[in-house]
């Protein structure tokens, strides 16, 4: 311990019933192992939030170990199954953010496996010791490594002639009818923005006002963000929704944020929307072009123009980077973050009344908009949207710092799809993937 | 399926008839065997009793020569055992692989599976296909199928059938029309590896096996190993001397019996090379 070799600090989160008892057994059996691990005992891996791992990294741990009961052995029957799903995603997210995967360890150690515990601690300590100290603090760039930049290739936007106008007319008709008939008190649609080539959300409550409403390629905002808010005017709300926005509604229904009958959906068949003068990248290969849930569906959709989502190529490029490059890529972007929370405000699924970022006791996310605070915020935001994000693009569009938030969201959506065969915003009756489990969920990463 | 054929040393000498009948049978059944060029001895028991490395490196030398085959086919149970164990260990143990590479100068990862002809007949070809091709069923012939020890042991690595009560040979020969007797000594050891050094010991073991086969009513014993064959066939004279029992029990390679049923001419089976001639039994059968 007193030598020159690097002695890593390793935080181990273990469950009370299996691994803690297994570690006790290693002690009772006098099995020797390195003294670098600090155990934090919790009742169950179900209680070991992945964010604890992040917190440990934020606080300077060189390695983190999480261990609990073997599948089927959970004292609370299913805590480890739930935890396994969470770790599956969170681990991928940390890798994508550039955390060295070799520093994170997951294992099942039963109460009888004192030997396994001792061997595990030895292996973990040895691995982390060989890796050396972390190359940078949480939220700080690794020095001497350039932060790679990505450039997107814009796809020209080709609006189908005449379609928007006809749809707009039909939409206004519907809106007028709803208001005139008293079926709804408010219609939330789009109107012309004050800057050239923009549209913005508009709240209308009389048939006369309806003429303000427009429908065109600039209507990129997701109006579902207003769905769970109480309307100022009495009566139901009708929302003009694109198919992707409608997927938000599915999420809101799953999470009891509203009931289907609380809202009327005026569904707009989609031709894609514009972003910075070109087709929004998420629209290029989007297959969801006709609303599935809406009360009327207005117009005919234009089929996608691309076969492959251009953003997947960006993800692939990030994944090809070395961890330190990936890390700096993200630190470069996050360094611009002002913590204005526009990403959160624009997200139709961020419906918490008190965001975790605002919880002061304890403070999950360092409040200031600096390295650690920004990284933790973006990690938590992405994590909380894992399995929920419907890829509407609102967060990225809202960000004044142009942080490519969609890359994180999309990556996690991919992980969820691959690992649990689940796509958010498709089935209002489906159990969200992080609230359920399968006994045979993959667990290659758990030793 | 294409098979790289490993005949084994004995099949070039004492048990040339095993090789010959195996090739004839395979030919008849449409199983293509292509002999591994320049193969070398598997090392047999002396190798693993002398040096573990040697016992793996020798088979590795041969296995490394196998190209473009789905499996290595063997007929001799001992060769099968050694090749299969070597291939298994090479697959499992990277360090051993490296040592073997240094010793043998060849790289072998044990990827091509090593199979015994009985396994191939039963599991690749299937007994139904054999039954279809039988021209002269061995009706009335009571056979004691003798598997010996190495064909199924150790079960974790080599067995392709129940190690305590294997059935493959019985099924193959039953398909050939023979009546396979139930008997308890199917997998008892004949002491083969001691044949040279301790003929006295081997005699006792051979006597036990011959006795049990006879008591079970067998006309002939079928074997799948040249060493078993030597001990049971050649040693019957010694058994007679040592124990005073003259069994006159013909001991045939299973391929010879199968060949007979498939209508392979006797020349292609080398029946004349057997010490205890099967002629009387076969003739009696033909007459019946």
């Amino acid at each position: 311990m007193m030598s020159d070799t690097f002695e890593p600090k390793i935080v181990a989160f273990v469950c009370n019933w299996c691994t803690y008892t297994g570690a006790d057994l290693a002690g009772t059996s006098r099995m020797q192992y390195p003294a670098n691990v600090r155990i934090i005992k919790l009742p169950c891996t179900g209680r070991i939030s992945p964010l604890f791992i992040m917190k440990a990294l934020e606080q300077g741990a060189d390695g983190v170990l999480v261990s609990g009961c073997h599948p089927g052995d959970c004292h609370y029957t299913a805590g480890n199954y739930h935890a396994r799903r969470k770790y599956t995603i969170f681990r991928e997210m940390l890798h994508f953010l550039g955390v060295e995967p070799e520093r994170l360890f997951f294992s099942w150690v039963s109460a009888a496996e004192g030997r396994k515990w001792a061997d595990l601690v030895a292996e973990v300590t040895d691995t982390v010791r060989r890796l050396g100290p972390r190359r940078s603090a949480w939220g700080e760039p690794v020095e001497g490594i350039a932060a790679p930049r990505l450039s997107a290739n814009p796809v020209p936007f080709e609006a189908p002639a005449g379609t928007f106008a006809a749809q707009a007319e039909a939409m206004r008709e519907k809106a007028k009818a709803l208001l005139a008939g008293g079926e709804v008190g408010t219609v939330i649609g789009y109107e012309q923005g004050t800057l050239p080539g923009t549209a913005r959300p508009a709240f209308v409550s009389t048939p006369e006002e309806v003429d303000r409403l427009v429908w065109n390629e600039h209507c990129h905002q997701n109006l579902a963000v207003y769905a769970a808010r109480k309307p100022a005017k009495p009566g139901k709300v009708a929302l003009v929704v694109k198919p992707c926005d409608e997927r938000s509604l599915v999420g809101l229904l799953q999470e009891n944020r509203l009931a289907r009958e609380d809202v009327v959906l005026i569904g707009m068949a989609c031709h894609g929307v514009q972003s910075e003068g070109a087709l929004a990248p998420r629209c290029a290969a989007c297959q969801t072009r006709t609303p599935a849930l809406a009360d009327p569906v207005i117009g005919e959709a234009t089929p996608p123009t691309a076969t492959a989502d251009p953003r997947l190529e960006q993800i692939a490029r990030i994944e090809q980077m070395a961890p330190a490059e990936r890390w700096n890529f993200w630190q470069g972007h996050f360094s611009r973050c002002l913590k204005c929370y526009a990403c959160r405000a624009a997200c139709s699924l961020c419906t918490c009344e008190r965001c975790l970022a605002e919880k002061a006791q304890p403070r999950w996310i360092p409040a200031p908009p600096d390295g650690a605070g920004n990284l933790s915020w973006h990690a938590v935001r992405a994590w909380h949207l894992a399995g929920r994000c419907v890829d509407c693009g609102a967060c990225s569009a809202a960000c004044p710092a142009d942080i490519p938030l969609y890359l994180l969201n999309l990556k996690l959506a991919q992980v969820v799809k691959d690992a649990f065969d689940y796509e958010a915003g498709r089935d209002p009756a489906a159990a969200p993937p992080l609230t359920t489990y399968r006994e045979d969920d993959a667990q290659e990463f758990i030793r | 399926m294409s098979y790289a054929y490993f005949p084994g040393c004995s099949q070039q000498g004492m048990a040339a008839e095993f090789d010959r009948s195996a090739r004839s049978v395979c030919d008849r059944l449409g199983i293509a065997l292509s002999e591994i060029p320049d193969w070398v001895c598997c090392g047999a028991t002396p190798a693993h009793a002398t040096s573990h490395l040697l016992s793996i490196a020798l088979p590795a030398l041969t296995l490394a020569k196998v190209k473009d085959a789905d499996a290595v086919a063997t007929v001799c149970a001992a060769c099968y055992s050694r090749l299969r164990i070597a291939s298994h260990e090479l697959r499992e143990d990277a360090e051993l692989r490296a040592r073997v590479k240094e010793a043998a100068g060849v790289e072998c990862a044990g990827e091509v599976p090593v199979r015994h002809l009985l396994d191939i007949l039963c599991n690749d070809l299937g007994v139904a296909a054999i039954r279809e091709r039988v021209k002269r069923p061995l009706a009335g012939l009571k056979v004691a199928c003798y598997y010996g020890c190495l064909l199924m042991r150790p079960p974790k690595v080599v067995a392709f059938d129940d190690p305590e009560n294997p059935r493959v040979m019985d099924e193959v020969l039953a398909a050939a029309g023979a009546e396979c007797v139930e008997w308890p000594y199917k997998t008892e050891c004949c002491g083969a590896s001691l044949s040279l050094a301790r003929p006295d010991v081997v005699c006792k073991l051979a006597n036990d096996i011959l006795r049990e086969a006879r008591d079970a009513g067998a006309h002939v014993i079928a074997v799948a190993c040249p060493l078993c064959h030597t001990n049971l066939d050649l040693r019957q004279a010694d058994v007679a001397r040592q124990y005073g029992v003259r069994y006159e029990m013909p001991v045939l390679f299973f391929t010879q019996l199968l060949g007979l049923a498939l209508g392979v001419p006797e020349k292609g089976l080398g029946l004349n090379r057997l010490i205890v001639s099967p002629k009387p039994v076969l003739e009696k059968l033909a007459a019946a």
Partner: protein, 346 residues
């Protein structure tokens, strides 16, 4: 007599300035957006027209800074002053609107007129004061204001000198920048690099007219007056119904100056941090009890408007909005302060 800097000598000037100061902050391109950054090489600086995504106010009022650090041991607490490593700083490329916005920051953080390190009033911010004294602003006049710009609507000009120590106005036809020293700092800067500047008879009048002519947005007349009675009256609910409640408008604004203070640390020690806050956040006014006097987003938006157009002029005699148009451009739902003020006052 005005001075002129040849267009091609600008970089030489900036390089020289950089050598004198510890830090040169100027607009650069990063990931497709324009931001003020401390530059290593003056070649990185972009001179493109239009505004950076947010103002340079963070040079003086960082988005996050430690007020002090502390360490706990046994029963005792040890305090430690934070470093302020920036030192002498020159900001180049400040647009006249941004530079004019300094008046608000000065009024709040260093209210004793121009910041003077020797005369510290009670409630001034020493961090701001120190930085302000060490910072020189080289303004760069706008020739092509954008669609969101409305500085003229609040009585400012795209070529105005307020807030700049030295203002450069590009005169492309003459191939020079017209250099106006506005303050002593500006004078000193000119004097120190006199060899790069020549005397000139050129004026910026024409450029000013052209630039002001590009601004389409209507003047906001008498904003101080009518707004005083409009706390409850105008339909804030409707005006702000779509406001999402993020802080983007405040954080890109050159004059917004609200901040929060928290302790970040653990049982062994930590820092007391001051960092930007926004009246757009519900948490901004939330009481511990759970009560929130500004319970709705329209109430918060009203606060933003009234603070800029009424409270600041009333209390500090400064114009709270400089018409840079950033809040309009960055708002995810196009909340347009100029449109709103025009509507409620007009």
């Amino acid at each position: 007599m005005a001075k002129a800097l040849r267009t091609e000598a600008l970089l030489d000037f900036l390089r020289a300035v950089q050598q004198d100061a510890r830090r040169l902050v100027a607009p650069v391109e990063e990931d497709g957006l324009r931001l003020f950054r401390a530059v290593d090489r003056v070649e990185e600086i972009t001179l493109a027209e239009g505004n950076t995504r947010w103002s340079f106010k963070e040079v003086l009022f960082p988005r996050s800074e430690a007020l002090f650090h502390y360490r706990l041991s046994g029963g005792s607490v040890a305090l430690q002053e934070p470093d302020q490593p920036e030192g002498e700083t020159v900001v180049f490329g400040a647009r006249p609107c941004d530079a004019a916005g300094l008046a608000v920051l000065d009024a709040v953080f260093a209210p004793n007129g121009r910041p003077d390190p020797d005369q510290a009033p009670e409630h001034e911010d020493p961090f701001y004061r120190r930085r302000r004294a060490q910072t020189t602003i080289i303004g760069l006049a706008c020739l092509e204001p954008g669609p969101a710009c409305f500085c003229t609507a609040v009585g400012l000009s795209p070529t105005g000198t307020a807030g700049s120590d030295l203002l450069l106005t590009p005169l492309p036809d003459q191939g020079v920048f017209l250099a106006e020293a506005v303050t002593e700092k500006g004078e000193r800067l000119l004097a120190a690099h006199a060899h790069l500047f020549t005397d000139t008879d050129d004026t910026k009048e024409q450029a000013t007219r052209a630039a002001e002519g590009r601004i389409q947005r209507t003047a906001l007349s008498g904003v101080g007056g009518p707004l005083a009675t409009l706390f409850e009256a105008p339909p804030w609910e409707e005006l702000a119904a779509r406001c999402l409640g993020c802080g983007a408008c405040a954080f890109v604004c050159p004059t917004c100056h609200c901040f929060d203070i928290v302790d970040e640390g653990n049982a062994a020690g930590g820092s007391r941090c001051k960092f930007w806050d926004s009246c757009g956040f519900a948490l901004f006014t939330a009481h511990t009890s759970g009560h929130n006097p500004r319970a709705t987003q329209p109430a918060r938006f009203r606060q933003r408007v009234l603070h800029k157009f009424r409270y600041l002029p009333e209390r500090f005699g400064v114009q709270g909005c400089v018409g840079c148009g950033r809040c309009i451009a960055t708002c995810p739902v196009n909340m347009d302060i100029q449109e709103v003020v025009a509507k409620v006052t007009g």
